[in-house]
Symmetry: D3
Subunit: 295 residues, 6 copies
């Protein structure tokens, strides 16, 4: 197996057996199956058994194979699903990713839901891996954002991690991130930071968004743990990094805004610690994967 990255993908918070996953998969299944598969049920006998293969139709990084397997299980616990590749593997077109055996009706009913999820997650992992490759050798991390598909964040953050990226905060509840709107509401950056620090929330690191060198300095002096350089030019970023590093060595620097595969390496070379990329989850094209029944 040819793994994309050093941090093993199984070292993450995501489990294919969680209550959350089952709820999401059941919703997706009932969206497709609804009041029943009228084609299959009229043609395929209930007792008909098949073997099927899940096959890559193009190259990609595998992500979500166990979620796909779980989808089949939720239609019928008796279905056997055997993953032939592990998440994080680099898959070549034509590769058999999984072998499935069970009653034909269940296979056909789960097929599209399983593939729709899998295609999407592989697409995300693959795009992530491209960003990661572009910055190879540099001490920088590629991060996701909260710009995920509604309802699928759990899966999509998993795919980013599987593709070699790292996860930014999961939601509004597990990270302090002060943005322009917060600063305006508080009446200034320092006031905002002070308010956020009150109430026991010094248990969280505090991230502050800065859109200019002036704001970077203000964030720095107010005691931010992480400073996000928001939509800055590369020159501004170089300047910001220099200022921050010269004053405080343990502040984490994040670059954000309009990052693409063209500019990511230049941004990385500014010396920032992390680069967050919304496109990883909101604009990754799906990977092409199909299921084929063997008879």
């Amino acid at each position: 197996m040819n793994r994309m990255h050093n941090s093993a993908p199984e070292k993450n918070r995501f489990s294919s057996q969680s209550v959350l996953v089952d709820k999401l998969l059941r919703n997706a299944l009932s969206e497709d199956i609804g009041s029943g598969d009228i084609t299959t049920s009229s043609i395929v006998p209930e007792e008909d058994i098949s073997e099927a293969l899940i096959i890559a139709k193009e190259d990609f990084i595998l992500a979500g194979i166990n979620f796909a397997g779980r989808t089949f299980k939720l239609v019928n616990r008796e279905v056997k699903f055997k993953a032939m590749k592990r998440d994080g593997s680099r898959i070549r077109r034509g590769t058999v990713i999984a072998e499935i055996k069970g009653d034909t009706r269940s296979l056909l009913m789960a097929e599209r839901t399983a593939l729709n999820l899998l295609q999407r997650l592989c697409g995300i992992a693959t795009l992530t891996s491209k960003f990661v490759e572009r910055v190879a050798g540099l001490p920088v991390k590629i991060l996701d954002t909260r710009k995920t598909t509604p309802g699928l964040r759990y899966f999509e953050k998993y795919a980013v991690k599987t593709g070699g990226g790292c996860n930014h905060r999961y939601g509004l509840f597990d990270g302090l991130l002060i943005k322009d709107n917060h600063i305006a509401a508080a009446g200034g950056l320092k006031k905002a930071v002070k308010l956020a620090r009150s109430g026991g929330d010094n248990l969280f690191k505090l991230e502050v968004e800065a859109g200019s060198i002036k704001e970077v300095k203000e964030a720095l002096s107010s005691g931010a743990d992480i400073i996000m350089l928001d939509n800055m030019s590369v020159d501004e970023m170089i300047n910001a990094v220099k200022i921050i590093r010269s004053r405080k060595t343990d502040v984490i620097i994040e670059a954000s805004g309009n990052v693409d595969l063209e500019n990511v390496r230049v941004i990385a070379e500014t010396g920032v610690d992390m680069i967050s990329v919304g496109a990883l989850t909101h604009s990754a094209p799906a990977s092409d994967i199909s299921m084929k029944i063997r008879r």
Copy 2:
């Protein structure tokens, strides 16, 4: 207002007030908000009121503005959401799409979920409209598929329709579509059609997938109402259309498989009635949209 297409987008089955929509939006909101917005709640006073604008950061076709509005309402019924543009409109970069007024906390808590959904739906409508434009003047429809994001089919099929496309069957439950696996299980195309016709299901039109001229002929003689030309070359399609039209004038012909903006017009010119495009929903990049609080 500059509408994309003739069929008014409000002529569809999708409502921004359905039980289904609320359930999906609530799930998405709780995914982001979870145990609370720790940044906003520590900085923004509960009674603080703001006005905000939703602004286009690039050109696109608007889709889902009422779903976005509903998202804000679900966080706080008191929030006023005023759509400045209607779905289906061609939006220019910089346009204000909606004005929102309400307590600042609710605005910030709903922001990302509403935008994540809106960005995705506008992306789909925009891509759909591009396909529709490419075939302008030809008597052909652009259709979606079941390759939608798990859990979001209702929204995504709406976006396709808003972008000027049409909806193929919603799921396994509302259309008879015989594929290769069904044919194999039945032991032949004709047997499969006969089985599907038994049991009252002649209330549905019957679609049969054909991968070769031989199968097209077989489908035709077995009485299919719709024939899907699956992954055929343009020459094969031209041939298939000629054969079908010469024998039976009211059979609907669908082209499917590897359709892109480059080849869609050539495919349309073969004389098929409908072209289905999986990429509309599985690979449309998100439109860039943001929310700005005015102070």
Copy 3:
């Protein structure tokens, strides 16, 4: 086994293992069990094991035996439920339909919910079979309607099919049926049909309700695939069938309205293709079935 009809009941869209079924059965169980079975739990020891029989107390057509079995399983997975007869079988009074073995508490807690469902479904299948018998030898199908018990449509449509009937559209989402109210809203039958045909919905057959010969003709010329003769006299129906058949051979004709066991054969003899009967699901008396614990 003495089967009611040719189309095997297992050739249908309904599965006793679907997510939908479990949800409905769990709701029904909790409706009956609520905060616990106070009688049984105070009298029957937790470890007490029993065998029980499900017995017919009158003649009927069996429908729903696997749903009944699933009900017991949902109370306790360890319960063994063995169906002695298959759905669609003609059952004689006194026949043992199923044998159950498990802890007595679970058996008593599931009993009423399982029987309430089974009694109702057998009642529907039995009434359906009577209608089917009345039209024996004629090329006509007996159909159900949407007049089902709220929440039980999945089960009740299954029972109709098991009794030898066919299923009309499942709900508002999987069939185009233009009724008087639609015609009035559109400003005429032809306008209504034209609107319904726009937007890709030519993937569905189009059914039009006609209450008079005039409307039959209009429906015919507007291109309806199915024409429903609504509440017509037998003479009108004969006339309507003649007109339709003379003009277009492949239009499906449905008779609807006030059909009962007395008049169904006469209606069938008019030459219609399908007769829909609301009473199948809204007024079928329950079959008498009981559970007996053997000690």
Copy 4:
């Protein structure tokens, strides 16, 4: 208004606004509407407003009018629903039961679900009222059983009460009722009663099922508060009542088993206090009710 019975129907536990009701109605609505009303949405403009009438097509006792109203509200809160008759009223064929005003789409989407529920509940109330009329003048109550439609017990028990009947225990959780199976498991009627009395459950009245005079005597001496005469002949019942009344004046006597409109008065004349009738809920034919849009 001509009321069926003295006990006002609003004196009951059932509310048309409870969480329970909304959940059940939402399930029923989504069962019918699913992914959208494809006919109405393609024909009726979103802004079209209609007035509609709910009209009796035969005579019955009204039950459930507010549940019907709630159904429309759940589709669209803006719909105005005005009940013209109160539950418990004797309705004549042709009577307008309710006036509705709102957008046409919502009216057509809610119509069938509302009517399916209403028809069923009126059917139950009507059948109940017939039983109540048959025993007019006698000091006896007509009771329902747990033989209700799975998922609809709340509504059906309401309909029984509205028709002039009384409610037996709601489920396994709110009444102690010792049946043959409990007696067998305990090793005798007295042992069963003793077990049921232990553990604080003397807060409930204790009902014991007796199938013979011998069991009646045993139940009596063991201290039962209520004795159910199960499937006894009229002569046996007369004898049982005499024995019970002679020994203990405050024991409540219930007759149960194969009660119909023919024999209910004879049974009532035996002097029992209550007669329970499963058919009230499991075999009542639906009342004929329709919705008509006025234009």
Copy 5:
């Protein structure tokens, strides 16, 4: 094993496998686990297996061990949970209550939820047992009330029973209890009782709250089955019991209001049948219990 009381705790309505229990435990688990255990998943390998012990850190009465076990199972069905003690047992500090074996991640994810529930239930059982001990030898029962933790009534009533107490009515739906507010609304105690008796509800015993000797007499003459002496002094209670017993021997007398471990025996000695204690469920301190992983 040293059992607290005679009535075996398994003789109750509560099951560790009910639909209700699973729903509550799943909610509790997702409250703690949310989007994933970020510490454990980054440190403990997915395949790591551990054995763990649940250990008493102080003396208490065990209650809820099977609910704790179920919690682990819901995180991962493969986890083996072996209860070493039965509910109702008197546990000594240091005792191993359960042995668990499974993958370390699941053990750590379920730990807190399982312990939080177990600690609370043991606390309730232990406090209940203290009240029961105080009245040892007297013919009186210790009852719980409806003053339970929102969402946990099922578990807490179980714990009371396990601690040797009895359960009062479960909720508003399974017991008639007329309080001062009902009396005021009805315009007098007798009117209230008469209303409550109408409508078939003589199937329930009727309890009336009395705050004075005058009300006790009124309740008695109106035919109450149970009289609750509400917040009376011991002298008043003695008087009330004398009056009730002299007139009607089978009326059940309940004492309620400000009962604590100091005064419970004196109250019991007044001759009442039952004493209800809100503190059992609303103010019992948690028992100290921990989980230790053996390596």
Copy 6:
């Protein structure tokens, strides 16, 4: 108004209008109301209107008044609920906390659920405020733990904050806390810290549990942001604080384990930054509060 603390209680993440809150309150309501309030519905007319007061029966700190209000609203939106005191206020026995007006049935149905929640939250806030008072003048925070009641964490953490305490991490998902089990699984404290730091999780502060001076030193050198002194004696804590402060000034020190009102000040005087107290949520006795209907 006499506020307990400086940090305003409305500066928190908890809202009385969230989706989460409604779900929890609805569950609690249906637990109590179930199939209906049989007493109230038989006695109190549907149209009867009442005013009611919520009254303190002892002294406490108010917490959760808006959650109580929401409970009434969920039973009937028409009910008017007016809080007379704000959360965080010191309430004296006899004080009217809220005035309610609405239909009597709804008031009686919501009463117990609203009070059960309110009593519990006031109890927690009150106990928290006592701990806070004990450490008055010292630069230390009182924190809660994850030892909350299953299903009520959102409410209970709110109550702690309202009582003047601070919130520790909400669950397993929003804080890195390495405990002994993690250290053992990783094969040493340093390895555990290193693993936790990998994968982007340096966005979280890292807390390490230390049970000895040796472990404190190890945690310090491995780069922990927060060190928890677990179950140490006061002397050990003094030593640990000295060591930590001498080496690294910005490490946060938490004391944990067996903290009570007696020892909390001594612990605070060791110089730790935070003291976490499980008893705040698992063992706070309920405050005594009642609802009185005025007539």
